[in-house]
Amino acid sequence: MNDTSSSVNSYRAAVCQGRSVLLIIAAVTLCMVGVAHAPLPDAGLRTALVLVAAGVNAILVAGRLMHVLQERHVIFVLLAFTVLFFVALMGLCLWAHGDTPKP
């Protein structure tokens, strides 16, 4: 009996959590669109802000909905390596591009 009631409770908690995650994502997305159209002096700053907002959304989806935060060691190690190699791929490509002497 205890088991059923706790699972009902956890389902209610999940509904609450889902609702709040959606609200935050919606708010952040609207902010992002707002920032993108705001008359900011620096295009680089605008891009940075937009990407930060996207990062917040991504963390919410990955951390909460994909429950990475509660995930096991194995998954963390895997994700850490993947992110590392992704950064290496993009970073080194761009570095190579930037370091190429212009004719």
Binding site: Y11, R46, V61, V83, F86
Partner: protein
């Protein structure tokens, strides 16, 4: 013959097979889209001056799609939570919502593609340039009818935000046209990468919809045999769907807002 840990987690790793398999698949997907994002940044940084367009895409529709996909991510999460709470009715409801939201997303994407596909840039033999949407029914073998505007310089085409509202119907004889090209992938690098990335993402959405349709329909028979196994399947499908949402969360600002 039974394979171990298809349903229950292995004690020392703490995960069941399919979950680890899905995360490995997602890792490879990160690298797949990572390659495309790297290509995007590489090409954009290296683009010759005055060739990269801005504001060509429909931001309200993109925002709507972002919210739709975020909502569907939440409904998948709830579908999984419902399975864990052993509530099949709630699972059906939320998965149904996910399916609906996914289909609307694809519909909107399709409309956006159509909008771009019928958008033309015309270069006339006297050097003038027109852009606008082709008015199909009015165009004949002799003349092309565009709802659009004239520009003096190709560079004026690059900023899509300023051009709205000044469009009118233009009738251009086909004999005057030097070159006529729609906003297809071949038009420029931005459109090429836009179609490629969103197209690949769209295929993932489609794949997710198919998987959820299966779990919602015939796949749910497993519920009555082994609810825990079924819950695992929902969780793993959900992981995939959330990843698809994650990709869109970055695609939207990268393509629509910058």
């Amino acid at each position: 013959m039974e394979i171990a840990y298809t349903v229950h987690a292995r004690p020392d790793t703490g995960v069941y097979n399919a979950k680890l398999g899905m995360w490995l698949f997602l890792a490879s997907e990160v690298m797949l889209f990572g390659g495309l994002f790297s290509a995007y940044v590489f090409l954009r940084v290296g683009a010759p001056p005055d060739t990269w367009p801005q504001g060509w895409l429909n931001v309200p529709l993109g925002t709507l799609n972002t919210l739709l996909l975020a909502a569907s991510a939440v409904t998948t999460f709830l579908a999984w939570a419902a399975c864990k709470a052993r509530r099949l009715d709630q699972f059906k409801l939320h998965t149904g919502l996910t399916l609906l939201l996914g289909c609307i997303f694809l519909g909107i994407k399709g409309y956006e593609y159509h909008d771009k596909w019928t958008h033309y840039e015309l270069r006339l033999k006297d050097g003038r340039i027109a852009e606008g949407h082709l008015v199909g029914p009015k165009s004949t073998a002799e003349a092309v009818v565009l709802k659009g505007r004239w520009v003096e310089d190709r560079r004026q085409l690059l900023d899509g935000r300023r051009s709205r509202g000044t469009w009118q119907e233009l009738t251009i004889p086909r004999a005057d046209i030097d070159r006529m090209q729609n906003y297809a992938p071949r038009h420029n690098t931005f459109l090429a990468i836009y179609y490629t990335m969103t197209g690949l993402h769209g295929l993932h959405v489609l794949g997710g919809v198919v998987v959820f349709a299966y779990l919602w329909g015939p796949g749910s028979r497993l519920w009555h045999v082994d609810p825990e196994h079924f819950t695992n399947r929902v969780e793993v499908a959900g992981l995939f769907w959330h990843f698809v949402d994650l990709v869109w969360i970055f695609l939207f600002p990268v393509l629509y807002l910058s």
